[in-house]
Symmetry: C2
Subunit: 436 residues, 2 copies
């Protein structure tokens, strides 16, 4: 085993860029380290459905050549990325977490964009079947495990992306987030997960779950890494001057004590740093009924969007998934319309709030990751879905924890389009948490 | 009978403003003339469901007082307006074209806005039952008739608004337009009808048909009058410099000869004036199937939105309307979702076209108004619904016609938000038509 000092896989995106620039390593050796780590550790995590080792090694060599020739495509050139298995990569099988696969003849738009920056695609990560669920207990590709807690879920649906980044198999990964599918695994795996403003990245080449709610988002181990992946230049902000409020509606939600105390501790930390924290309340918002509305929207839309797959490959769908899609297909239009109306009303009200109150904070999830032997809680996405309803950017930051403590996430949200401001504040809060 | 010179009802909005300013008449005498004309002529047209004579006369007196005191609220102060009966006016019964009514305790937002400008509300106009149809053959309030053609439909659903403006009972009226309900009656009645950009006026206080497609719009006898009602200051444009194209998709649609020749004549008129007319084509657009998608969206949404009324007052709904709403209520969510997807795809494609091609022209309707004894054509809204799908502004201008010719409308559309540019071009084309 390599010494800690030499373990390149410990580098985040920003560190990797610096190491490549300084010649501490080549992209080739960096990619090799990641592949070796995947070889040795992914058997336990099951974070990858597919690893594209040889192509990645070849791409790394090309990046190293560009570096030698002074023709680098971007600072991200030569940095590896893992991609959730509902996002197409040219030539690599896509499963969408189903028991079937196809080989895309084109990169998804977001992959094309990052490939044009020189990023290297290590493979496709495990996910909840069809992205419709949050445990990543996949019936076709096996359970994905949380690197921080043996036998526990990494969350989902982008569970594999959370696990491989948290487990240091890859410095960053892409996920998709329909009701919280990037932020829940980020919170459970103790990393950073970012759902940008709706349509920040085109979803072309992504197998849809809900066209109304789907958003692509990155997972990484720091806010700086998230900003680099997103191509956003952050502002230097003083957290004291940020207009922050806690969303009161969740105060009465069913929440684990560890989440409550972690959240309260973070608020005290912010207050101690001189941040004033207001309180706001959505007037007509019950998180559970809103989540059910979002779930119905997903079931109806996925029922239509996945119908062709199901007709040709019914065996590739688990009975549980089929039941959810059948429920969506059987739902009357009036129920779907009412659910969409509920989503739009929440969007309007939250956008109104953002005009007065720039940033909202909440816990990311009502619970910490649970053991696969426990029953799946139904309210995992209760705190995250609101940002999908609103189309606004939201980030989950990991709170500081001792070895014995379970991971807890802090969610920050702001108005659609203010992604840079959100990440800039998150960077400030990340520093506060680290220095605490 | 008054001599033509003294007939104040012949004045449009702009003329009325000038007459009031110059003291040619008071608001009181102007309103009296309109009420007298309504008394003598509306029995034949059946354009009004409710006339609020006494309140209008009192409001006119108050306007005259404001004029004396130099406290006019706006240039529109003292000018009368008729309002479609799905738009609430404080204290006047709303029927939404149903066999029931309620007395609103508040003005609709658009009424409040125009009342604050001093406009005077003469009453509520006849409409197609629940706005779900285009003949204004209303089972509860009777047929509304076209002032230009005996026994013919004025179109709909804002048929009463079209009839009372075309019949000189009122200089202008408000309608609502879900798939063409302002522009179809404007075209049939030989007047101007404008559907602004979606949400130009808030629909608060308007009984909804389809929240996805509904838009409030004014009907008047000139583009200048439309601009005054809309509060938009027009630009001086040279039509020669306008980037106009004809929408090719309708060339193959089933169209009456009079529509075809009227439209071709208008294109020649524009070409003769030095306007170059391009051709554009929506790649995946069949007007009939798109109209069916729009109709399903309306039936589903109206099915939900009118359900409370129907549960308490089933007898207020005709069997035909009940059948349409039942169809909407029984529709599966997947059909509704697919219809919404079709609408949004058309919106995206049309918005793309507008980036290169600023203005599109089409006939407003495939047919001229028909006799009530004839079967109702199913394709009345085939050329107008596209603007509702896109949320873009669209206007119908009457072509010049001899006494024997039936009315034909020219539709002009442009990108969402460019309402001023649309009306400015329409003013230029209106002049060209008048001077021909």
């Amino acid at each position: 085993m390599e010494s800690k000092k030499e373990d390149l896989t410990l580098l985040g995106v920003k560190d990797a860029i610096a190491a490549l620039e300084k010649g501490v390593c080549s992209s080739e050796t960096f990619i090799e380290s990641c592949l070796a780590k995947i070889n040795s550790n992914d058997g336990k995590l099951n974070g990858f459905i597919h690893v594209e080792a040889e192509q990645a090694a070849r791409d790394a060599l090309q990046s190293d050549n560009r570096r030698k020739n002074g023709t680098l495509l971007s600072p991200l050139d030569g940095v590896p990325l893992a991609v959730k298995d509902n996002i197409d990569i040219l030539g690599q099988p896509t499963t969408n977490g189903l028991g079937m696969h196809w080989i895309p003849s084109e990169d998804a738009a977001v992959v094309k964009l990052l490939r044009n920056k020189g990023m290297i695609f290590l493979g496709k990560t495990n996910m909840h079947e069809a992205a419709l669920g949050a445990t990543t207990d996949n019936p076709h590709h096996g359970k994905c495990f949380n690197p921080l807690l043996e036998g526990h879920t990494p969350g989902g649906s982008s569970g594999g992306s959370g696990a491989v980044v948290s487990g240091y198999l890859c410095p960053a990964a892409l996920g998709t987030d329909t009701m919280g599918s990037v932020r829940v695994p980020a919170a459970y795996c103790g990393i950073v997960g970012f759902k940008p403003t709706k349509n920040f990245w085109s979803t072309e080449g992504v197998t849809p779950l809900s066209v109304t709610l789907d958003t692509i988002g990155p997972l990484a181990r720091s806010v700086s890494d998230i900003a680099l992946l997103s191509g956003l230049a952050l502002k230097n902000v003083d957290v004291k001057n940020c207009n922050v409020a806690s969303l009161e509606n969740f105060d009465y939600a069913d929440m684990e004590d560890e989440i409550k105390s972690g959240y309260e501790g973070t608020k005290r930390l912010l207050l101690d740093a001189g941040v004033s924290i207001g309180q706001v309340r959505l007037s007509d918002y019950d998180p559970s009924s809103a989540r059910r509305a979002g779930l119905l929207v997903s079931e109806v839309e996925a029922g239509v969007l996945l119908e062709d797959f199901r007709l040709t490959s019914e065996e590739a769908f688990s009975p549980e998934l089929q039941a959810m899609l059948d429920f969506g297909r059987r739902a009357p239009a009036s129920r779907y319309f009412n659910a969409i109306q509920k989503v739009q009303a929440l969007k309007r009200e939250l956008c109104n709030i953002f005009q007065k109150q720039k940033f909202l904070i909440t816990p990311t999830t009502p619970q910490t990751p649970f053991h696969f032997s426990q029953e799946t809680p139904i309210n995992q996405a209760d705190f995250t879905a609101l940002a999908n309803f609103c189309g606004c950017p939201a980030i989950s930051l990991p709170l500081k924890r001792s070895e014995e403590e379970k991971p807890v996430g802090l969610q920050i949200m702001t108005a659609p389009g203010f992604d840079i401001d959100l990440l800039s504040l998150a960077l400030g809060i990340e520093k506060l948490i680290a220095n605490n």
